[in-house]
């Protein structure tokens, strides 16, 4: 209740009214240059006319997967950033991602433990004023996302379009409504990947707001990255030439960017290390069993302040399923007649109540004052995955 109230209060302000908005727009958006038509080849010179924004990407550490070698490589430095350019025509939006990669890895024609370099963009199904941001890791129960993924194949690109509403729900869209291509520049040792799609496709419009939330993920085949092993960004935003800037939406999104929005990270850390660590693992504080809740090692790199605030104060509004609900079974429960133990409930992040309502296992932390929430978020924003978690 209280969270909802906060949201209303914040949303009531004006869009470009303050330093928060400016800071937000400065650091989190890339402006799409208008174009007659959007080129679909990564090398097209037209892309160079568009302004570039550089966004940080970091290895996904919220959930731990089970590939021993990939886990060993997790601590090694990743790409660090992707550079994003955008072009928009009257009917299409195009995004060019470039990132440095020392080696070109393609979808193996043959081998079984080699992985392709890949890139993806993610866009919420609904966005704009009045809508919160979905969970950046493939959306959540309430807010699905669209994803466009391309992997480098020996010839050309293997491209797919998906919808997802949280971990494990990625579902292919049968007819791809986008054009994707990626090329490796051997001289510069960098990838260029283009994603072009109509502004309007079946079931999904990009024109819901001038600020199109977009998250970026890139995969380094050399690090055995695929699926959940990826380097991803937080939600960023492509600023469309039309419609006009959605002031209300900017206002909502930019909370946390003004000095004073967030509090004291040291205080926040104290809270986190007494309260949150019961379920979440933090750098140096890994008492919780891995998997009973998302790890927070990289939370600052992938979550925006507004999202963090929402998920602390109103977790039922941001329900995320466990990434791997079957990865833990309960030996405390009796096995079924064929010897199968049921999944351990402790590792499920949500509960379905009688009647079908899904609630998060995380209680709403309504006992925190707004200041404490600010302190906590200030601390969480410092967690960008660079602090080495204790080995499992």
């Amino acid at each position: 209740m209280r969270a909802a109230l906060l949201l209303v209060l914040v949303g009531a302000g004006s869009a470009r009214a303050g330093p928060a908005s400016d800071a937000f727009l400065e650091s989190e958006t890339v402006t799409a240059s208008p174009a007659q038509s959007v080129p679909t080849t990564p090398g097209d010179p037209l892309w160079m006319k568009a302004p570039v924004a550089s966004f940080r990407v970091s290895a996904q550490r919220s959930v731990r997967l089970n590939d021993k070698r990939a886990n060993e490589l997790l601590g090694q430095p990743g790409f660090g950033e992707v550079r994003v350019r955008a072009l928009a025509s009257a009917t299409e939006l195009g995004v060019l991602l470039t990132w440095n990669d020392a080696s070109r890895n393609v979808l193996p024609a043959d081998d079984t433990n080699a992985y392709p370099d890949a890139a993806a963009i993610e866009i919420p199904s609904v966005f704009g004023a009045g809508h919160r941001l979905p969970y950046v890791g493939m959306g959540d129960v309430e807010l699905p996302v669209r994803l466009y993924l391309q992997r480098k194949a020996p010839k050309g690109t293997q491209a797919n379009e998906y919808v997802a509403a949280g971990f494990g729900s990625l579902t292919r869209v049968p007819r791809i409504q986008a054009t994707m291509a990626m090329e490796y520049d051997e001289q510069l040792k960098l990838w260029r990947a283009v994603f072009v799609r109509p502004l309007q496709v079946e079931g999904h419009a990009l024109t819901q707001s001038s600020l199109v939330p977009m998250a970026f993920a890139v995969w380094d085949g050399a690090r055995s990255e695929r699926g959940g092993y990826k380097q991803l960004s937080a939600w960023r935003f492509v600023l469309l030439p039309r419609p006009a800037l959605d002031a209300a939406y900017v206002k909502y999104l930019s909370w946390g960017y003004a000095p004073g929005d967030l509090g004291d990270p040291a205080k926040g850390r104290a809270i986190a290390e007494t309260v949150c660590i019961a379920c979440h693992r933090l750098p140096g504080k890994t008492v919780a069993s891995p998997g009973i809740a998302p790890d927070l090692f990289d939370i600052g790199a992938i979550a925006s302040p507004i999202y963090l605030r929402e998920s602390i104060t109103n977790p039922n509004g941001v329900i995320i399923h466990a990434v791997n609900p079957n990865a833990h079974y309960s030996k405390a429960s009796p096995p079924d007649k064929n010897g199968a133990y049921p999944n351990a409930d402790a590792y499920q992040w949500s509960t379905t109540l009688p009647g079908g309502k899904i609630v998060s296992k995380m209680p709403p932390f309504t006992m925190f004052t707004p200041e404490q929430v600010g302190d906590l978020i200030a601390y969480l924003k410092t967690l960008d995955g660079t602090k080495e978690p204790e080995p499992r």
Partner: protein, 963 residues
């Protein structure tokens, strides 16, 4: 350029129809899908299930288009398979699995088959399949070929064979179908062709070294024994020199089911092979010392009196009297019949004329009857007119003495001492006590004792003898020692005994491959003719030193060679026919089928053969190493494309059918051997008639043949009529129908009844040879002897322990004995090349499917200590070498191999080695004089009495390859 999932998944259903992918069939109503617990419920199982269902339907094809086949590639296992096709192509095969169970307490024979048969569908379509007739256009082996028509190919064969007959006589031609097609109907085609033309044909079993001549000595025939289901019931099963888990795959289950049934399984082999792993006792005898071990066991059995005297008296030659002076059997023909010691009255029962049959005193043998204390002729020998072995009847009562010495008077007035065979055997065995043989055999006396008890105590004990024992220079003597051991225990019928390879009595097929004696092929000794074709005496000179030959034969190297050559010159050519082991130096035109002989033969065989061969036409379904040296290549059909029927050997009681799937598309231009043979005779007849028309020379139509025709000539103007029996016998299908019509043991059956049953028939009761073939009991051997007292097919009519052939006496082998190998001692390792798991000889050896399941290339197994000492690591290429050359091969390190041996699967084609130099190029051999001996009693050349080429009589050294 994007690769869509739809395309990728379509690939899945390569064979199946279009798969339904419900997720894709629907329009874009896309919702993220989350599955809660896929162990409990899954929203859409059907779409993926349908993919696999469609794929399965694709491999299975249409049931009505099913064929049947077996894979007759000389494993002799002979199993019924269902063959599935789709769009005219074989997709897959599986065992027919419909053999009936004999009785509820006997495991059934299903699903007969093995790892090689199960992939025949794959090799039918591999790129080494011969598709078209090809003519060599470069030097032999250079790999230059021209595709020609069948007409051209047949014309060339016909011309060469015909001209060979005209110019040099029938013995110029060598017409043979090899071990790749050991079947009743298909192989009869080329045998029939060879017989019609009087061509030379060698005996397969002896040239591959898979004969049991030593067993023939004792039992009168080498291929004796039971069906494998009988082994299930035996209380003790000894597997000697064999590895049924690897080389008798379809039958091996009876061993382990037998073990659960209480059978003790004993394996006697130098290496710890795949059968040893489940055995109760493994006896790691040193290579080539099997005979020594067998005699030790026999020595213990006698010393501990673990035998039944009554059985020895009735069934063996051990009571027969032997002259001390000449070491020859005492024969009635030399006895002074007037002496009081001779019981002429009692002997008369066995000598009186019976119809046409008259006694032959030279083949009548004597024993000392303890009832009358007189010498008496023993019944049942080749010379007596009574065929029974019965010791007591209305007219006689015999109790032959097993021990004793007597003085007897001969016709020439001499008085000589005689004694029994058992006395001499005991004397010989004194040199073979377990304590004395242990240093040679490596076998502890306690093991010998255990074997002596196991072979004599239990109700039923069987010794199954493998081919490995016969692959040593003195393998024949070892086989004989083992057979003597089995014979001595008196085991026959339900009590077990000797088991090599049972053969059924199948009558009525002679008319398919032959002409009732009007024409016959020149049947050559396998081991001699191949040995001589390959100039292997030269390899003998290179490999064996004086001391080796002395150790192995008692005489020097040159002298031994001289003796061998003398015997060979006796029996060479038409003049030598019936005077020993036949072979023909004159052969120069070769029409061969399914006989990849270069992988098999040794030393410099290939070079020698190619020098002698004027013309080589070779038919096969695949490219073998031998085929690459042919002048003409003929693409043949495989078992799935052929009609055929197959029964022997009798590991089981079924005859299997090859019935091609009705809609099968021909692979390339392949033809059946029957069709090829028919085309050849048509062309030869046309050539003869044309020549006669041109020259008027009657010799063009009548080619003289004094020894192998009843008419004195081959009628070249009647070839087609005679070959096809007036047109009735032209194709492989005709041959199968002929067999079903003419073979008593197949009745009552038709193609239809066999097809409906699952591709086989059950032999009727007439198929049993020395025992009845009961409907509800496993087949065993020699019940007719045990219960009906019938004679054995031996000189004395008895189990033969004594051979008084002069060569045998000279070699000290008149009684069962054992001798040291001649293999050189100067190299540390004996090379053993047992039958393979992954091929039947060279057939299927080049199958990628199977090669992927071993090491992909030839390899030799060596002991880890040896490898360590030589700094050899697993998987590296090493050099094997001796005086005959060197071979590069991959090393595989295994503690299953004894430190003094190298063990490798055989059958690798030379072209699979570096520089095409296969392991057999290092192998030398010598003909064994005793195997060459002939003309004594039942030791007369034929399928029961030939010798072996020895494959294990070579030693080698190894070294790292330094590059």
């Amino acid at each position: 350029m994007s690769i869509s999932r739809r395309d990728a998944l379509k690939n899945l259903a390569l064979i199946g129809g279009a798969a339904s992918l419900s997720a894709q069939a629907k329009p874009a109503e896309v919702k993220p899908l989350r599955v809660e617990d896929p162990r409990a419920a899954y929203p859409d199982t059907k779409s993926v299930e349908d993919l696999y269902r469609a794929e399965f339907a694709g491999t299975r094809g249409n049931e009505a288009e099913r064929g049947f086949a077996y894979h007759c590639v000389n494993c002799q296992g002979n199993c019924a398979w269902e063959v599935w096709t789709k769009d005219g192509k074989v997709t897959r095969e599986n065992q027919s699995s419909s053999y009936p169970q004999l009785a509820p307490d006997i495991p059934d024979a299903n699903p007969r088959g093995c790892n090689k048969g199960v992939q025949h569908s794959q090799v039918m379509y591999t790129p080494d399949r011969l598709l078209h007739p090809m003519r060599r256009v470069g030097a032999r082996g250079a790999g230059q070929w021209k595709q020609i028509t069948w007409e051209e190919a047949i014309a060339e064969i016909a011309r060469n064979l015909y001209e060979g007959m005209l110019e040099k006589g029938p013995a110029a031609n060598y017409v043979h179908i090899g071990a790749g097609v050991l079947t009743e109907a298909r192989a009869a085609s080329i045998k029939r062709l060879g017989s019609l033309l009087g061509a030379v044909r060698p005996y397969i079993a002896s040239y591959v070294g898979d004969m049991f001549p030593g067993v023939s000595v004792v039992y009168g025939e080498g291929n004796i024994g039971c069906t494998f289901d009988f082994l299930y019931q035996a209380k003790v099963n000894v597997f000697w020199g064999c590895n049924p888990n690897t080389s008798r795959i379809p039958d091996a289950h009876y061993l382990w089911e037998g073990k659960y049934n209480g059978s003790k399984i004993i394996v006697i082999t130098p290496e710890f092979n795949s059968t040893c792993i489940h055995a109760d006792l493994w006896v790691p005898v040193k290579a080539g010392y099997d005979g020594h071990l067998a005699l030790s066991i026999l020595q213990r059995i006698i010393a501990r009196k673990l035998y039944k005297e009554a059985l020895l008296k009735e069934f063996t030659d051990l009571p027969l009297l032997i002259r001390a002076d000449t070491k020859e059997l005492l024969r009635l023909s030399e006895l002074d019949a007037a002496q009081p010691l001779y019981d002429a009255k009692a002997s008369e029962h066995f000598l009186k004329k019976d119809g046409e049959k008259e006694a032959k005193p030279h083949e009548c043998f004597l024993a000392f009857n303890q009832r009358t204390r007189k010498l008496v002729v023993m019944p049942g020998s080749e010379g007596t007119t009574v065929e029974t072995l019965r010791l007591k009847d209305l007219d006689w009562d015999l109790d032959p003495a097993l021990a004793g010495t007597w003085k007897v008077k001969l016709k020439d007035g001499k008085t000589v001492a005689v004694t029994t065979g058992l006395e001499l055997l005991k004397k010989e065995l004194a040199s073979f006590t377990p304590e004395k043989t242990q240093p040679l055999t490596g076998i502890h006396p306690a093991v010998v004792d255990e074997l002596a008890r196991d072979l004599t105590g239990p109700k039923c004990a069987v010794i199954t003898l493998g081919f490995a024992v016969g692959k040593h220079f003195h393998g024949m003597l070892s086989q004989r020692a083992i057979a003597s051991l089995a014979a001595f225990t008196g085991r026959m019928g339900p009590t077990g005994g000797m088991n090599t390879e049972n053969e059924w009595s199948i009558s009525g097929l002679a008319g398919l491959s032959g002409f009732s004696g009007k024409y016959s092929h020149r049947f050559a000794s396998g081991f001699v003719s191949e040995f001589m074709l390959g100039d292997e005496l030269e390899d003998y000179d290179k490999l064996y030193a004086e001391e080796d030959v002395k150790r192995g034969t008692g005489v020097g190297k040159a002298e031994y060679r001289k003796k061998v050559e003398a015997l060979l010159s006796e029996s060479e050519g038409d003049q030598g026919f019936s005077r020993g082991k036949p072979w023909w130096k004159s052969v120069e035109n070769f029409l061969l089928f399914a006989d990849a002989r270069f992988r098999r033969n040794k030393g410099q065989y290939q070079k020698a053969f190619l020098e002698k061969a004027k013309f080589i036409a070779y038919g096969d379904f695949r490219v073998s190493d031998f085929g690459t040296y042919a002048d003409l290549l003929l693409p043949c059909k495989t078992p799935y494309e052929s009609w055929d029927i197959r029964t022997n050997p009798g590991y089981h009681r079924f005859a299997n059918l090859a019935y091609p799937p009705p809609t099968l598309k021909n692979v390339g231009e392949s033809k059946s051997e029957w069709e090829i043979a028919t085309l050849v005779v048509e062309k030869m007849e046309a050539l003869a008639k044309e020549r006669f028309k041109r020259t008027g020379d009657p010799k063009a139509l009548k080619i003289a043949d004094a020894t192998h025709t009843s008419t004195g000539f081959h009628a070249m103007d009647e070839l087609v009529k005679e070959f096809t029996q007036d047109g009735k016998l032209r194709t492989d299908k005709d041959a199968v129908e002929y067999a079903l019509e003419h073979v008593d043991q197949f009745k009552p059956n038709t193609l239809k009844s066999m097809y409906e049953r699952g591709g086989f028939l059950t032999l009727n009761g007439k198929a049993g040879k020395t025992s009845p073939l009961y409907e509800d009991r496993p087949y065993n051997t020699f019940e007719s002897q045990l219960f009906l007292h019938q004679r054995f097919e031996t000189l004395t009519g008895r189990l033969t322990f004594y051979v008084d052939h002069p060569l045998w006496i000279e070699a000290g082998a008149n009684v069962a004995t054992a001798k040291a190998p001649i293999r050189p001692k100067r190299h540390p390792f004996v090379l053993m090349t047992p039958h393979a798991r992954w091929s039947i000889h060279s057939t299927y050896k080049t199958s990628p499917t199977l090669l992927r399941l071993s090491r992909g290339r030839p390899y030799v197994m060596l002991n880890p200590e040896v490898a360590h000492a030589r700094g050899i690591v697993d998987g590296e290429d090493i050099k094997m070498f001796n005086e005959l050359g060197e071979v590069i091969i991959q090393a595989k390190i295994s503690p299953a191999v004894p430190p003094d041996a190298l063990v490798m699967e055989h059958g690798w084609e030379p072209f699979m080695y570096e520089k095409k130099k296969g392991h057999n190029s290092l192998v030398g051999d010598m003909l064994n004089l005793l195997e060459l001996s002939d003309g004594w009693g039942h030791l007369k050349f034929g399928t029961n009495w030939d010798g072996n080429q020895h494959a294990y009589e070579t030693t080698l050294d190894i070294a790292k390859v330094t590059t």
